[in-house]
Amino acid sequence: MTTSRLRSSLLGLAIGLLSAPIAAQAQMVHQHGSDAACEGTELRCATKVTPFFAEDGKLWLAWMAGGRVSVAGSTDGGQSYSAAVPVTEQQLNLDWGPDARPKLVVDGKGALAVAFSIFRDQAFNGQVLYTRSDDGGKSFAPLRPITSSNESQRFEALALDQDGTVFVAWLDKRNRAPAKAAGRAYEGAGLFFASSQDQGATYAEAALAQDNTCECCRLGLAFAGPGRPVVVFRNIFEGSVRDHAVVTFSNLTTPGEVYRVSTDDWQIKACPHQGPSLAVSPSGAYHVAWFTNGKIRKGLFYAHSRDGGRTFSEPMAIGQADRNPTRPYVLATPDATTLVWKEFDGERTTVMMMQSRDDGETWSKPRALASTDNASDHPLLVARGKQIFLSWMTKADGYRLQAIGDES
């Protein structure tokens, strides 16, 4: 044992001396483990694809492939796409975290607002960048940081208000250094936000909604009404308990009280890499789906709130516990609430779906929508009017936009 450890150390030293060629070789080894089908920037090489239906019924996609974020549109419901336009010519070290993806919203006048995260240094500090197109996606403005702060930012979320205001929220580490300098412990990251009144050309100065939230999970973002964004996030409660919380803004600059979605008691000093999903139905009900591995409950859960997030229904377990249910996404359309998630049986990933016709009180039996035998993006839902689609990128089978039938 001691001998082999010594030999390993000497080998480590030798490798250190040879670091340059070894590094090149190691990188080659790793490329075989890519979750992308190919290395180009085209849609079929994407690892993350985000859809958005504009008011005119045009489908827009933003995707991550080959170190670029690209955008294309489809006027025939995903049958064919316009030529892909990369939002920047330079190759970027895009945030590849499991919960990272490019974000895209398109306002009623056809302006496209895009945001995404990059790793800007060797220590994997993140930066949220944004751009927009005012010529229907033909060209994009130079990339700009969402905030002037140089501390790490990740996990941005974009949403469009009824009047075209673009609201953005993200996780931001700027309060860590001052806390440490003052001798205080600092956990997690701050939930920051800003908004744009000029179609995503510029954003107001960043402001803090809640400090010390979990730093490595996506945010759920929706509007409860005009000018009233709602954010669901994995918070850090007393004792490193990483359970979910919700905050509703009274206007675009004023976050309200933070309420707990559920007491799962997931005490963990780690990155769960599993953020929540949020939808607000026309009735004003909040629908939230999340993953936890807490002492009180483990797995995937759903709950709703009918009082603006103050209280939530008893969490309902989603999916088959022995099939690793994960990556939930909830969408509320005028007459249905739809949930999708992934299940895995050791070989195959299946997207499961269930629907509620009574605003989340009762649900249809889960049903399989699609499956794949290799790496895949999180399943997402998107709607054009009442028609709901599953949007899912898979390594083996490419991108699919699949219409979902009536499940009631």
């Binding site: 480590g12 060629p21 790793h30 975290g97 690793n324 790496a375």
Partner: protein
Amino acid sequence: MKKTFAVLAVLALAALTGPSTAASPSLKPFERGSWREVLRAHAGRPTLIHFWGVTCGPCKIELPQLGKFMADHPEIDVVTISADLVPNLSTATQAMLDKAGLAGAENFIFNDGYAERLRFEVDPSWQGDIPRTMLVTRDGAIETIEGSAEISDLDKWSQAQVRPH
């Protein structure tokens, strides 16, 4: 465009064939079947298996502590597995291991784009959260620590492993 790819392919080939005979890389690819192989290779010896990733904040704090733990406990086999799913991150992974004093451990990096399948082989209920530490006793009993481990707990566990049975 095609020409560029051809040149890249030649360079790639050179990278694969050139230095690989000089020394085997410290980072081993973790692929289908690797988990079974790790358990088999360390069977009968107390082993600490640590899953981590270069972008995980808590991992950055814990890794040097594990480096010290390894130095203090030569009787325990230490295995690290980078469980992030990342293109081109081997260099950063190796650099962090070196800095943490873990270059001498047996170090793996996920090398299958289908990360769900790799994780399922390790533990069907693991959803990818890191850090995560698995403590394997001589008789193969596994205890899993979710999140950052307390080094005092690891010390206690390792002391229990050296006691005569």
